[in-house]
């Protein structure tokens, strides 16, 4: 589904990628500074350079992974169900009928809030159903939440 222009297929906000980018750069930078200083104090300048290079390589790999992960995340609201597709190493696709929804969870951590993003999660009675969409802009998250709640109520089915 990624890449194919299909009706109603949406992806998380591009700001999610910016947020992930900032997270990786910030934590990578901090880690590089700590590792460089520690290695420099303990073993000298060459060791410090190696430590920093290792951390930077790791951060680049993480960035590549985060980029692919961000790109793989798509969702589609169909008439009867919500489809969420994601995953780089392990590819997952979930189809959750609106009628099976128990509740919708909209959450936003401090970093999410700084980037004005939110995560929407759809819960069903099955613990394994995972329909989580991260990095939605606030309006979109609110719209999705309201729509899901309305559809869930309209199509509710007993256990």
């Amino acid at each position: 589904m990624p890449g194919t222009p299909e009706q109603g297929v949406r992806c998380p906000s591009p700001r999610l990628w910016r947020m992930r980018y900032a997270e990786v750069i910030a934590s990578g930078g901090a880690l590089a500074a700590v590792a460089g200083t520690a290695a420099g104090l303990a073993f000298g300048g060459a060791a410090a350079a190696i430590a920093v290079a290792v951390v930077i390589t790791g951060a680049l790999a993480a960035l590549w992974f985060a980029r692919n992960r961000f790109r793989s995340w798509v969702y589609q609201e169909r008439d009867e169900d919500l489809i969420v597709e994601r995953g780089v190493l392990i590819h997952r696709l979930s189809v959750v009928p609106y009628g099976r929804m128990q509740f919708v969870d909209v959450s936003a951590g401090p970093i999410d809030r700084a980037f004005r993003l939110a995560t929407v999660k759809l819960h069903t009675a099955a613990a394994a159903s995972d329909a989580r969409i991260p990095g939605l802009e606030r309006d979109e998250a609110a719209r999705l939440r309201d729509r899901l709640a309305a559809l869930g109520e309209a199509k509710a089915a007993g256990l």
């Binding site: 696709l93 979930s94 394994a128 007993g158």
Partner: protein, 465 residues
């Protein structure tokens, strides 16, 4: 909660509990005795032993023992005093708690199962506990411990009648016994289990003796303990599943079992989320199998059977034909059995140990999946019960062009897994299962009393007395 409320109405047995003007009822006055009975007996036995100088430091500790007994018994009496219940139209209300009141409302439409539990002591006194299971956490279950036996049975009939949308006064419908498990077979199955565990001890002992005869002394005591525990496990199996009988009635599937304490479980058929058949390796020569059903909800952590999902044995050990007969009752929507399809040969590289069992199939009402390495496990999930459909593809599966499709039902690990299907087929299967379960759900939805039922029970707060 005054003393006058404790006055008991004279008359027939079901009306023996106290009823106040506004319909609130008490539990049976002997409940505190049964609830604290085991603890009190243990303390008294301990006190007797220490008093007679067999253990402990002599007669000096007696005062404490009796204080402990009094405390336990007093707590049980207070709990009884502050607990009351009533049936309020289509809800069962239970209030309990001295310092923190806990008022529970259990809507009958959301009942998942009703258990009538009779521990040994309660059975001697003609009492029974009624346990009403709802979806959601086990802490939300309604427990009435203890009621007189007839009153408990009458209340069960009333709740189940209301659950099926009938007049609550409808008498309990007649049930027909489907199958019962002979004690010999039950003992045989327990013996196989005990022998499996005991063999471990014998092997460990043998190896130790061969390597270093002196070492046997060191590990001898734990080994003997292990053997005693094996015996205990086997005994527990037999005593909890003794005289296992499955009966069908319009109320649902009724399971009766137990040697000293007995349990009668009633599961409305529409509440069955999935059925599982397990064929352990050691049972295969005997053509035996175990059948379990999954019901939505979780057992509480304080539950004697341990926390976790509500998974009830429909047949602890039985023949294939009995299992097939029970399957027909547990899955009334099924029309014939779906054709099973095996994964392609290349799936062996992904699942070498379970490839020999892997198979799955579906028709328009039912999904069936066979998995397992040593024990064969077959799961049936009615499509009308599907909560979601998922496709999962790991890196190795991608290399092999395979994918796994899960059909999830309510619960933690309740699902039919279509493992290692060819990629394109799996993609198509996801769409097909989603569409089929939608139409199955639509066919099943006009069941009375279920339209508005959601998993989470309302107003089910909890606290201790």
């Amino acid at each position: 909660m005054t003393d006058s409320e404790r006055d008991r109405a004279p008359g027939r047995a079901p009306a023996r509990e106290a009823v106040t003007a506004d319909g609130w009822r008490r539990l049976h006055p002997l409940s505190p005795l049964v609830r604290s009975g085991r603890a009190v007996l243990a303390v008294l036995a301990l006190a007797g032993l220490s008093g007679s100088g067999l253990i402990g430091s002599g007669a000096g500790t007696r005062w404490w023992d009796f204080a402990l007994v009094a405390l336990v018994a007093g707590g049980a009496v207070v709990n009884w005093l502050v607990t009351r219940w009533k049936v309020d139209g289509v809800t069962l209300r239970i209030e309990t708690g001295l310092l923190r009141r806990d008022s529970r409302q259990l809507p009958v439409a959301r009942i998942q199962a009703v258990d009538l539990v009779r521990p040994f002591l309660a059975r001697m006194l003609g009492l029974a506990e009624l346990r009403i299971r709802l979806a959601g956490s086990g802490d939300a279950d309604g427990r009435l411990a203890y009621l007189p036996e007839q009153a408990a049975e009458a209340l069960r009939a009333r709740l189940l009648a209301a659950h099926h949308g009938l007049d609550p006064a409808t008498p309990e419908p007649a049930e027909s016994v489907i199958t019962s498990v002979p004690s010999g077979r039950l003992a045989g199955a327990a013996l196989i289990l005990a022998v499996q565990l005991a063999v471990v001890a014998v092997i460990v002992g043998g190896v130790t003796a061969a390597v270093d005869p002196g070492g046997l002394l060191a590990i001898g005591v734990p080994l003997i303990w292990w053997l005693i525990i094996c015996g205990g496990i086997a005994w527990r199996r037999v005593s909890t599943q003794y005289a296992f009988t499955v009966a069908a009635s319009p109320d649902g599937v009724r399971i009766r079992r137990g040697l000293l304490g007995t349990v009668a479980e009633t599961i409305p058929v529409a509440r069955i989320q999935a059925v599982r058949m397990i064929e352990p390796l050691w049972w295969r020569p005997l053509h035996w199998c175990r059948l379990e059903v999954d019901v939505a909800g979780r057992l509480g952590h304080d539950h004697p059977e341990g926390g976790g999902e509500v998974r009830k044995a429909l047949l602890p050990v039985g023949r294939r034909d009995e299992a097939a007969q029970l399957l027909g009752i547990a899955l009334p929507a099924a029309r014939g059995w779906p054709v099973l399809r095996r994964p392609p040969r290349r799936a062996w590289w992904k699942a070498p140990l379970s490839y020999h069992f892997l198979a799955a199939g579906h028709d328009d009402t039912l999904a069936v999946a066979v998995t397992g390495r040593v024990h064969r496990e077959t799961t049936w999930v009615p499509l009308a019960k599907a909560q979601s459909v998922r496709l999962v593809q790991g890196p190795l599966q991608r290399r092999l062009g395979l994918a796994t499709v899960h059909l999830d039902a309510a619960g933690k690990r309740v699902r039919a897994e279509f493992r290692e299907r060819p990629q394109e087929q799996a993609r198509a299967l996801v769409g097909k299962l989603a569409a089929l379960s939608r139409s199955a759900r639509r066919r099943a939805s006009p069941v009375p009393g279920q339209a508005a039922s959601v998993a989470s029970p309302v107003n089910a707060s909890h606290s201790e007395a």
